[in-house]
């Protein structure tokens, strides 16, 4: 085992997810592989030596030397506008990871899983969904995805036709698509209690998103009877997408 060091990563492809979020495909020579849910720290350095770093979740299982991040642009932010608007294919950043052994899903796990995402919080949870697919796992999965409006949906095509055994519930907080039964509004206990994975199933719960959202969602899960020890959280910070 070695202590963690910075690696140089090169942007090889970009996928627009929404008008304000994009997936960056990076080539990282010597990438050791990772588990779904882990993240990397990204470090940017300006020409005058000014340097700053932020954490980003890995969006999918590793594919050799390629890793994917999905970044939401935070208005007025220092790093996310660079990653979503300025950086071009061929540009380099420094990155260290994979890190974080707690907020992870192990492909061998058979326990039912409840994923609760707020906004960009869907990124590490999508990595779990993809890892489940890659591993051919049959662990029952349910994703509750809270987003402002349909235009904010990441991975829209992929989640439109979910894998067998994956149930996707969308919660729109501001504007719902035409004909959508649920009225727009914040996540409620009913959204989490709906279809399957009640606490008696003892699912492993993974909650991710902006800090305020995670706080609220974790509270709702506990109020529904989920054991706090089975709830793992990843708070992105005050804005965090």
């Amino acid at each position: 085992m070695r202590r963690l060091a910075w690696r140089v990563a090169e942007l090889t492809a970009i996928r627009e997810e929404t008008p304000t979020a994009r997936t960056l495909v990076l080539r990282v020579p010597g990438w050791p592989g990772h588990l779904a849910g882990q993240h990397v720290d990204v470090r940017l350095t300006a020409e005058d030596g000014y340097s700053t770093q932020r954490s980003y979740s890995l969006a999918g299982p590793s594919d050799g030397e390629h890793v994917e991040l999905t970044v939401q642009r935070v208005p007025g932010g220092e790093v996310s506008p660079y990653l979503t608007e300025v950086m071009e294919v061929g540009d380099q950043v420094e990155l260290r990871g994979p890190v974080g052994g707690w907020f992870v899903w192990e492909p061998a796990a058979k326990t039912p899983v409840l994923l609760v995402a707020g906004g960009a919080g869907v990124v590490p949870l999508m990595a779990m969904i993809r890892a489940r697919r890659t591993a051919g796992s049959r662990a029952p999965f349910r994703l509750v995805y809270s987003l402002r409006d349909p235009g904010q949906a990441y991975y829209a095509d992929e989640l439109r036709h979910p894998d067998p055994g994956l149930d996707v519930t969308r919660v729109y907080t501001r504007t719902a698509p035409d004909g959508f039964a649920r009225r727009p509004g914040r996540l409620t206990a009913a959204d989490l209690a709906g279809s399957g994975r009640p606490p008696e199933y003892e699912p492993d719960c993974y909650v991710c998103g902006p800090t305020g959202f995670v706080e609220k969602a974790a509270e709702l899960l506990v109020s529904l009877g989920h054991e706090p020890g089975r709830i793992r959280t990843e708070r992105f910070g005050p804005t965090g997408g």
């Binding site: 940017l44 350095t45 300006a46 340097s51 220092e78 300025v86 950086m87 071009e88 540009d91 420094e94």
Partner: protein, 199 residues
């Protein structure tokens, strides 16, 4: 050696002669936090000065506001490298608060609601160099920026200007505070770039 990210500039920043070495100019007022923001009701608020002999002096919020105030316009320099020029505050000079305090102490340990502490030589609080500030740019200081009242010692890095200030202990010996015990410089002079220990 770090590689340069093409086109990355970070938050807008320019130099200028008024900036200490290594600092960048900012127009906003970034909030750094080391814990939850205390919400201190001015009805309960008090400020104490405790001397090395254990004598305590107290001021309630109303008593603080009744003291003569000043409105210093000062530059502030954060150890995280941003500086903000020409900020205007209203507050009571420590010269006023310490006037009737009998002490031969050399050091001060400032403590805050929420548990934060910071240390400095007592002389750095005197002679018009420090205030207990309770207004910023004509408004009450918001809790995020240290309200209802914060220490203002602009000639040192801004971590010395303790938010949510609650009191000062005068001590014969230097007693390092929250950041000073975790690698930051004991004194913190921005013009000598005293960021970390041994700088």
């Amino acid at each position: 050696m770090a590689i340069i990210s093409r086109g990355f500039r970070g938050r807008a920043r320019e130099g200028g002669g008024k900036l200490p070495p290594g600092q960048y100019l900012t127009d906003d007022f970034p909030v750094l936090s080391a814990g939850p923001t205390p919400r201190v009701d001015t009805d309960r608020w008090e400020f104490t000065v405790e001397t090395e002999s254990g004598q305590a002096h107290r001021w309630s919020w109303a008593e603080l506001l009744a003291l003569p105030y000043e409105t210093p316009t000062v530059d502030i320099h954060c150890v995280t490298k941003w500086s903000k020029l020409g900020t205007t505050w209203r507050g009571v000079s420590l010269d006023v608060l310490l006037e009737d305090v009998e002490s031969a102490a050399d050091y001060a340990l400032v403590h805050s609601y929420g548990g934060y502490t910071t240390n400095l030589p007592l002389e750095d609080l005197l002679d018009g160099k420090a205030w207990i500030a309770y207004r910023y740019e004509g408004e009450e200081i918001t809790p995020a920026h240290g309200g209802p009242a914060r220490l203002l010692v602009p000639h040192l890095y801004f971590w010395k200007s303790a938010k949510w200030v609650r009191g000062i202990r005068l001590l014969d010996e230097d007693w390092p505070g929250f950041w000073e015990t975790a690698g930051y410089h004991d004194y913190g002079d921005p013009w000598r770039e005293q960021r970390y220990q041994d700088d």
